[in-house]
Symmetry: C2
């Protein structure tokens, strides 16, 4: 079965979806919807570029719309809106607001007999799945999520807003000793700050005071103050050359007991060259699932928790049993 | 919802299920069925011990039967047979015969409106799930399964059959360099033999010829001949003291690209103090799922691929979204 996809929004994530679709022969990219002037978009596929104003005309031409907007303002509006017209998948990642988003999307999707899958990616997404599986298998245990090594956009932005800073990139890095403590099975209590350190690469504007800026970064409340933070001053050339990627990743661990002194450790980790490209690849697999579920009449809003794994694969049940079980 | 469980077979796996149920407040162990004389069974819970001859009387007293027999001869007979009376879960692990077993169990379960989940555990089971998820997300990639460090029952038995050997334990150990090569993203071609080495702890009978036995082990076809094999001769006391556990574990990795030169690594690993206790804990989580699916009228034979993750957890969908997504 071919799944016809359209992308809404052509930023990092939208471009990632475009790339991911090329790796999936049963998935076809038919359109990219944009709020910009379609003529201004240079894309890397032969999909049609269409103004968002014409999106309703595409109701019967696509099977799933992958919504590639941001969680702050785009998705809370877009996903419920378009779930009235299309099967949709999004990567809504504001954890605290997921229940509200779910409710809004569920209402829309059910009333239009569409299938929507929200909060798809790696966290929320694959990391959530691993937290769930591991806690169901080892109910007497404790789980730990570590992020990194990876670029945090929010922290990089916070540095860039400091006066005298021309450009900056911040990496969140798991603290190896904390990871080892978890792996030892000692079930330590660890706050986010005890699990991660922060490394900053900063380009100064001419005449800026390096030591004052370093101090300002290291004492910035919430973002850096309570963390072990390292600041490196480098040239713009060096930043462009060595820090232009958007790598990320992390670890989900659960350590638990099945009987007295019988311990087990479950560990899942990701090492990603490109955070948005990996997220996009997960979105595409769940778009396949949304299409199939809708064909089966399974409507409404779903999360990764609701989707049986086989729906993600292009292989048949028989092929999966023969090759992967 | 309480799930009432019975166990068929009280070996390592059955005892593991008994232990796992104690960690799950929503699951109740009501009976243990045995082929032995029930009076001879010393169990560690207050379940009733019942002769297998009376199993049919329990049709309305339990929700799921966890079948804890062996894959060679027990399960091919038992699972299809009891899927006509109960919802069942088993850990059938003869990979090549899973399609046939699936078909037999499916027929039985469907004709009795029962739900059966087969091949549950960690491989097949959690490792299979990770192969599926990772390959769906990174279709342009390659996956690798490493087993160990852990005890291989079959290889230990093979050593014990050698003349002059009093007792033995064999560990399968992943080769660190092979793991590192996979993690580097170079997508190496690796046979099972290139991924694992074997370490043997052997107790000799009095007067046995150590060097002859070492030679016999190292040249044993299929089992050891092509592997890097180490043999240690130790006393029975030392074997009992340091090698009486049944630890196991392993790694599932997938390395792939989402676009030219953009690489990703997904790694899942288990480190288990007790292979049967961990397998049992997975069985219990899937027993919960079998009960729920049956309540929803979802009958027939299933594998871990067919089960949406939320069915494994005792938490509600709302709780899962709020705490784990």
């Amino acid at each position: 079965m071919i799944t016809r996809i359209a992308i809404l929004g052509y930023g990092n994530l939208g471009r990632g979806v475009e790339a991911a679709i090329k790796k999936n022969p049963d998935i076809e990219l038919v359109a990219i919807f944009t709020r910009r002037n379609p003529d201004d978009l240079k894309i890397k596929s032969d999909a049609q570029v269409v103004s968002i104003n014409e999106i309703e005309d595409w109701q019967n031409k696509i099977d799933v719309l992958i919504i590639c907007g941001g969680s702050a303002t785009d998705l809370p509006m877009q996903t419920p809106k378009y779930a009235r017209i299309f099967n949709v998948v999004d990567s809504f990642d504001t954890h605290a607001k997921i229940p509200e988003h779910f409710k809004n999307v569920d209402e829309s999707a059910k009333c239009a007999n569409k299938t929507a899958i929200i909060s798809v990616g790696w966290d929320p997404g694959m990391f959530s799945l691993n937290r769930l599986y591991a806690s169901a298998i080892l109910p007497d245990g404790k789980d730990y999520t570590f992020w990194g090594k990876g670029v945090s956009q929010g922290h990089s932005d916070a540095i860039r807003r400091i006066e005298g800073v021309a450009d900056a990139k911040q990496y969140t890095i798991p603290i190896e000793e904390a990871l080892d403590a978890v792996r030892s099975g000692s079930n330590p209590e660890l706050s986010t700050k005890q699990k991660h350190k922060r490394e900053c690469f900063v380009v100064l504007k001419e005449g800026a005071n390096a030591s004052k800026i370093e101090q300002e970064i290291k004492t910035m409340p919430n973002y850096f103050a309570d963390y072990d933070t390292t600041v490196h001053f480098i040239s713009q050339e060096e930043l462009n050359k060595n820090h232009s990627g958007i790598p990320h990743g992390g670890f989900v661990l659960r350590s638990g007991e099945t009987s007295s002194n019988t311990k087990h450790l479950i560990e899942y980790s990701l090492k990603l060259d490109s955070n948005p490209e990996f997220t996009s690849s997960v979105l595409v697999a769940y778009a396949r699932a949304a299409h199939r579920l809708n064909k089966e009449g399974n409507n409404g809003c779903k999360t990764v928790f609701d989707i049986a794994p086989m729906y993600l694969s292009s292989k048949t049940s028989e092929e999966l049993i023969a090759t992967m079980l």
